[in-house]
């Protein structure tokens, strides 16, 4: 078959909602786009452990500590599900990790913001995981089978993440005036970066059209962002707190909220590496990787030795 025919066949499978599986023919650009997107997503999960891991030792109770530990462990798990999905496309795990460590690969900019106090852990679970869920629920229906299956697992687990965050927010919003002020301050700092998680505006999103045609994505950045605002604002109201947007108002006609303009200068600046924590995050990942080198080597040596021991009795018999 000519590549033109193959491409037409591929698109017709996508159009009739047949999933693409690892060994199926796919256009190079589809493969590359997926490897880039899935590995960036994996990197985001891995780097995403850092801002929250920062608070494990300082969680205000044993209950909160256990929950946060479980959540951070889940993030590691999500990263691993996604790396393994990327590998089904022919990517190499070590290459992907190296791209993260060298700074060549991107990860979600949200993790380049600092977690200053305990209220931030609540705001991250509620807002950041909430925004991630919008995107991830859509991705459970993505056209590439292994990515979709990883997303189903991830979504089941994310729901706990968001609820535990909102529970922290409720506790603080209903707590002392100081606690309520901390919760409001956390929303003030995390609201706009959370809206930025959906990426550039549709008009400026370079990959969007093709990704929609291939059904890698099924909704545009702006659609997902609108959906997030619509479900989240009432949740803030329940807390008795406000989102920091003077332009936010309910639009009766369209049945959703109008909201203010994102500071795109800040968005691009953080994407390009100039956010408050970009350097710190990469340093932390590199340090973890280097500090773990002896463990990786020791495990390999141990496995080789065990394998050798298994073979030795056979060798002895042969020699006799």
């Amino acid at each position: 078959m000519t590549s033109l025919n193959l491409e037409a066949l591929f698109q017709s499978k996508i159009d009739e909602e047949t999933k693409i599986e690892p060994k199926d023919w796919m256009p190079d650009a589809y493969r590359k786009t997926l490897i880039r997107q899935i590995s960036q997503h994996a990197h985001s999960e891995i780097v995403g452990m850092l801002p929250e891991g920062n608070w494990i030792t300082r969680a205000p109770s044993l209950r909160r500590k256990l929950i946060l530990l479980a959540k951070v462990q889940d993030e590691a798990g999500h990263g691993l599900y996604l790396y393994s999905a990327a590998e089904t496309l022919g990517a190499n795990r070590d290459d992907l990790v190296q791209q993260l460590l060298s700074g060549k690969a991107k990860y979600s900019s949200i993790f380049n913001y600092p977690t200053l106090n305990w209220a931030d852990i609540g705001a991250i679970g509620w807002l950041v995981d909430g925004a991630a869920i919008m995107n991830q629920v859509m991705l459970t229906r993505t056209s590439y089978g292994p990515y979709a299956r990883a997303m189903v697992r991830i979504c089941k687990e994310e729901s706990f993440h968001q609820r535990q965050g909102y529970e922290i927010m409720i506790a603080m919003a209903k707590g002392s005036p100081e606690q309520k002020a901390m919760a409001q301050d956390a929303i003030n700092r995390w609201w706009w970066p959370s809206l930025m998680m959906f990426g550039p505006k549709d008009a400026e999103s370079s990959h969007s059209d093709q990704a929609l045609k291939w059904k890698i994505k099924r909704k545009t950045n702006d659609e997902l962002r609108q959906q997030f605002v619509d479900v989240t604002v009432p949740q803030a109201e329940y807390l008795g707190l406000t989102v920091p947007d003077p332009d936010l108002r309910w639009n009766e006609e369209k049945g959703s909220y109008d909201f203010g303009e994102i500071d795109w200068e800040e968005f691009w600046s953080v994407v390009k590496g100039n956010g408050p924590c970009n350097k710190q995050r990469l340093q932390a990942r590199n340090k973890a990787y280097e500090d773990g080198a002896w463990v990786r080597e020791a495990a390999s040596a141990h496995a080789a030795k065990k394998e050798q021991r298994k073979l030795e009795p056979q060798l002895a018999t042969k020699a006799a």
Binding site: S84, D94, P146, E157, E297, A303, K306, E307
Partner: protein
């Protein structure tokens, strides 16, 4: 990098009475580590009662390009299905 740990495919039996089902993969130095990692990675919420780990290189997969000729022999043998046969209405328990 040359020292990459081998890739393992993970299968989980979700409860007794059901078959093992593929859930994903992971890297590990050997089978024992693959089992331990699979426990931590794929069964954090009681997803299973039994695990299989198989090094990925040991799996031979059919080629999707050959799936038409490969599965074609089954397609025209509709007489293999019970619905192919007419059973008179008067006859029951069949």
């Amino acid at each position: 990098m040359k020292n990459e740990w081998p890739l393992w495919e993970i299968f989980i039996r979700s409860k007794s009475g059901l078959s093992h089902k593929h859930v994903g993969s992971l890297h590990a130095t050997d089978a024992e580590m693959a089992l331990e990692n699979a426990r931590d990675l794929y069964t954090r919420r009681n997803e299973g009662v039994s695990l299989w780990v198989v090094e990925s290189k040991h799996i031979t997969a059919s080629d999707p390009n050959d799936s038409d000729p490969l599965f074609e022999p089954a397609k025209d043998k509709i007489y293999r299905h019970p619905t192919f046969y007419n059973v008179p209405d008067e006859v029951t328990h069949m």
